[in-house]
Amino acid sequence: MRKAFSETLYECAKADSEIFIVVADISPAGAMVKFQTEYPKRFIDVGVAEQVMIGIAAGLALKGCKPFAYTIATFALYRAFEMVRDDLGYQNLPVTVVGIGAGVTYSVLGGTHQAMEDIAIAGAIPNMQILAPCDPLECIDATRYCATQQKGPIYLRVAKTGEPTLTENAIEPFIFGKLRYLRRGTDVCVLSYGVVVKLAIQVADRLQTEGKSVSVVSCHTIKPLDRGGIEVALRNHHQVIVIEEHVPQGGLAPQTKQIAWDTDAQCVLHTFTLRDEFIHNYGTHDDLLAAHGLSIEHIMKIVS
């Protein structure tokens, strides 16, 4: 996904001289080397200094540039939170904060490097938009949106590298602010975003072997959330399942429950999130998710 991001940003930057990237001692790798070589003035490495990374990005935007601020999600969003809130959110500047290794994808780095609450934190800021693509292809679309919009700040939640492609056969294209059906069924709808859409697809496959007709949705735009789309999904399926790599508060799961309550939804609604606990396990990304109940076995026990 990082590679898809850097390739796309490089392509966008070739066409638009207002695109800058400010990094804090970490490189998006891939095509970013080309970006840095060809446009050295538009590549700024501030060192390990996330607050000034956001402040400089804000200053660039105040002069009409389209900056991307890029580093590990916890540092980009948590360390520099007040800069993200005041400089970007309050001033409503079109800066994209790219948080990499979001969720618990840094599965051996420990809790200091795991952004389990990033959606709640970014989502609490007025004017902030949040995009969480599920695979490298969707990351291309999301990055293009970020590079061309002028509406305000965006938190772009990116995983790391080597994620599988999930959307090559999607029945719908990426449209900012809209749910994206990757497949469409009539009985069950699995809503998810980010790289755990992979797990959502596994759940859907399993339910289909049980004879159910299943929709799978990539809810890539977490803010503004497609409330109308979720209302329709709740109305048109007997069962809705939310799978989310995020703590239980402030993410897609509680918002879906809220919409279900507000619209008097009649379906069965199951939500699966990380627990409200720090993770002290190490292993693969799947191992960490499983430690908090985000595994095919656990989910199937409850939903089938």
Binding site: K41, V52, G59, L60, A61, D87
Partner: protein, 280 residues
């Protein structure tokens, strides 16, 4: 215009006019202070000459009254001085200041981006220098000739984010950035020299980070002007301005209470008399 010993020319400022303006601004701030409570009058008074010099002596004028230069007040709590200067320049209307901090008005205790003449929303300390570095850098990359002027408080220099910006500024080569510290040595709670003596010497810290540094009397308009006009210009410039909090009104000077307080009607009259006397 004079020729100095090195043979270069300098334009000396009209010091009488500067003094007259600054006195007028202090009186206008006093007037506004009768409308609402809590306005950081002492913080505004300590940087009157600095802000006046930037707007009236240093910033270039451009087409249609706009300037290619940028001014950012990082010490947003002192923004009454910026408001009254913008009023003088016709950027803000008298009505804007009449409605200061009231329903229906658009000016609050801290400057808000989007209001006329306001470059960025500040007030939360430690944000302005980073944004100024970003703006100065953008200006250079885009080939603009504009300078970026940024005024910091000495209290906000204690923020770690300010030091991140200090370190990166010279590395990025933003020699079009000119910053000022309003060094009145008096923050909300205490004297810096007493509570945080390691703050000093402050100028040396900026030199160590690759800045060009000058120390001046921050109430001497000519000294402020010359510090900028005679800079070498290869690196970002920090003008450390020694100032007095509450400068211009005897009972406000160096009194921490005037960080927050508005004058009572009696204090207002007394302050006005002092300023009128100084003007005469």
């Amino acid at each position: 215009m004079v020729v100095d010993t090195l043979g270069s020319t300098r334009i000396l400022i009209d010091i009488t006019a500067a003094k007259r303006r600054c006195n007028k601004f202090r009186r206008r701030i006093l007037e506004v202070s009768q409308q609402v409570q809590a306005l950081h009058i002492g913080s505004a008074y300590s940087c009157v000459e600095i802000v006046d010099c930037i707007y009236f002596e240093l910033m270039q004028s451009g087409i249609g009254g706009s300037s290619p230069d940028t001014f950012l007040l990082s010490k947003g709590h002192g923004c009454l001085i910026q408001y009254v200067v913008l009023e003088e320049l016709g950027v803000l209307a008298r009505r804007d200041l009449d409605l200061y901090c009231t329903p229906g008005g658009r000016l609050g205790v801290h400057p808000d981006y989007g209001n006329p003449g306001i470059t960025a929303s500040t007030g939360a300390l430690g944000h302005g220098l980073s944004m100024s570095v970003g703006m100065a850098y953008a200006e250079k990359v885009k080939g603009g000739k504009g300078l970026v002027y940024c005024v910091l408080s000495d209290g906000e220099v204690q923020e770690g984010s300010t030091w991140e910006a200090t370190m990166i500024a010279s590395s990025l080569g933003v020699n079009n950035l000119i910053a000022f510290i309003d060094n009145n040595d008096l923050q909300a709670l205490a004297r810096i020299s007493v509570s945080l003596p390691s703050f000093y010497p402050v100028a040396d810290k900026y030199s160590a980070f690759g800045w060009e540094v000058v120390e001046v009397d921050g109430h001497d308009s000519e000294a402020i002007y010359n510090a900028v006009a005679s800079r070498r210009g290869e690196r970002p410039l920090m003008v450390v301005c020694k100032t007095v909090k509450g400068k211009g009104v005897s009972f406000m000077e160096n009194e921490p209470i005037w960080h927050y307080r508005s004058p009572s009607p009696v204090e207002y009259q007394q302050a006005l008399r002092e300023l009128e006397k100084a003007q005469a």
